[in-house]
């Protein structure tokens, strides 16, 4: 009987883990599509990202409900409890990732044209690739309970911050050269900031994975060069 209960908890947890995996894949896809829409000035694709954000919201509510039911039914402790709480936290971060993707999509529509100078778009693409890579790696780290991979993601956030800062400076120069660029540049600046924040959510998830597996917080102050 005790064995039966243990197995059931594991099954519930496994389902919760797959739900997180599915949600993570979906949020990642929306973010990727938002970037494609931005780089190719594609308002239709941007509109699709905006409308699909609701699906991610529903996924989050579903995961939260399952996790709470699990806590109420099984009263998990120690690692089991940490796994269940991790699901709630990670679904919160993923909801924010999709939301930031939606913001990028809205700005893509507002900008109409993204005919920026080539180096700027290369910078945005590079930043977005780093962000997507961080998302992918941290979701893998979660699926495999791989703390080393999570620590890697956590450390790599400083690279995103550095690329963001250099992009910020380039946008500034561009705006100063010709004030007519300012309005569009600010949209792009906010897009870059949104990507940088997606990187922060990947880092949050890395911290959650570390805590879930070890029961300890990652102690060092997060290496971050973007303080603003």
């Amino acid at each position: 009987m005790a064995q039966h209960i243990v197995t059931s908890f594991d099954e519930d947890l496994k389902e919760l883990n797959s739900a997180i995996g599915a949600m993570g894949g979906y949020a990642e896809e929306l973010f990727g599509n938002a970037i494609t829409a931005l780089l190719h000035s594609d308002p239709d694709m941007a509109q699709e990202v905006i409308s699909k954000d609701r699906i991610v919201d529903a996924m989050q509510r579903d995961i939260e409900e399952r996790a709470v039911l699990l806590i109420a039914r099984r009263q998990p402790v120690a690692q089991d409890l940490r796994e269940t709480m991790a699901a709630i936290r990670i679904s919160g971060d993923l909801e924010r990732v999709a939301d930031l993707g939606k913001n990028i999509a809205r700005r893509t529509i507002a900008m109409e044209s993204t005919a920026f100078r080539q180096t700027l778009m290369v910078g945005v693409e590079h930043l977005a690739q780093l962000g997507l890579q961080q998302m992918k790696q941290v979701l893998d780290a979660y699926a495999l309970r791989d703390t080393a991979a999570a620590a890697e993601v956590w450390k790599n956030d400083s690279e995103i911050d550095a690329v963001y800062t250099s992009l910020f400076r380039e946008l500034l120069t561009y705006m100063m050269e010709d004030p007519r660029n300012i309005s569009r540049c600010i949209h792009l600046l906010f897009c870059a900031k949104n990507i940088e924040r997606i990187g922060d959510h990947a880092t949050n998830i890395a911290e959650t994975v570390h805590y879930m597996v070890t029961g300890q917080q990652i102690e060092e102050e997060r290496a971050s060069s973007t303080r603003v």
Copy 2:
């Protein structure tokens, strides 16, 4: 015996509610101090806001732990469960409010001087006052389980969005007039965006209060003029 358990749950919930009240007051204070530091170019006060943000983080962890313990021990259902989940959600929003306050404080330090033209600072002050008012009202609505007050907060978010948009336009003009203003204006623009986002968290809390009391989501699409 059953009576005893019911009373205990109510007591646990009361403690959770006071913890949210305390956290809300603290987050509100940090946000207020961040604004004062910004308006008076006070780097010492800004530094204090930055260092105190950790206290809010600790408060959130404490509330989350208490709520999870409550779910595991009492297996609450219906309104009791909604109240417990509301505590988790609201503490998440309050943590973000303090974090956004910290961002404003960091930019205050980065800007060094806030000798902007008077109308701009009046605009920032107005925006911040609206944000503070929304925070105060929604925390009262939570404490009193007042859905009408929560609905009021929810509706008033459009006013914050409108003030933000007008401030955004003014900043844009200022930047176009003299490119030397651009760098500082962008800091101020991000500060304004942070205040606008604090307003969004007040609206989130209003939605949580509504759901907690009624068991229904606020259905209308949130009236929002800031789409980007």
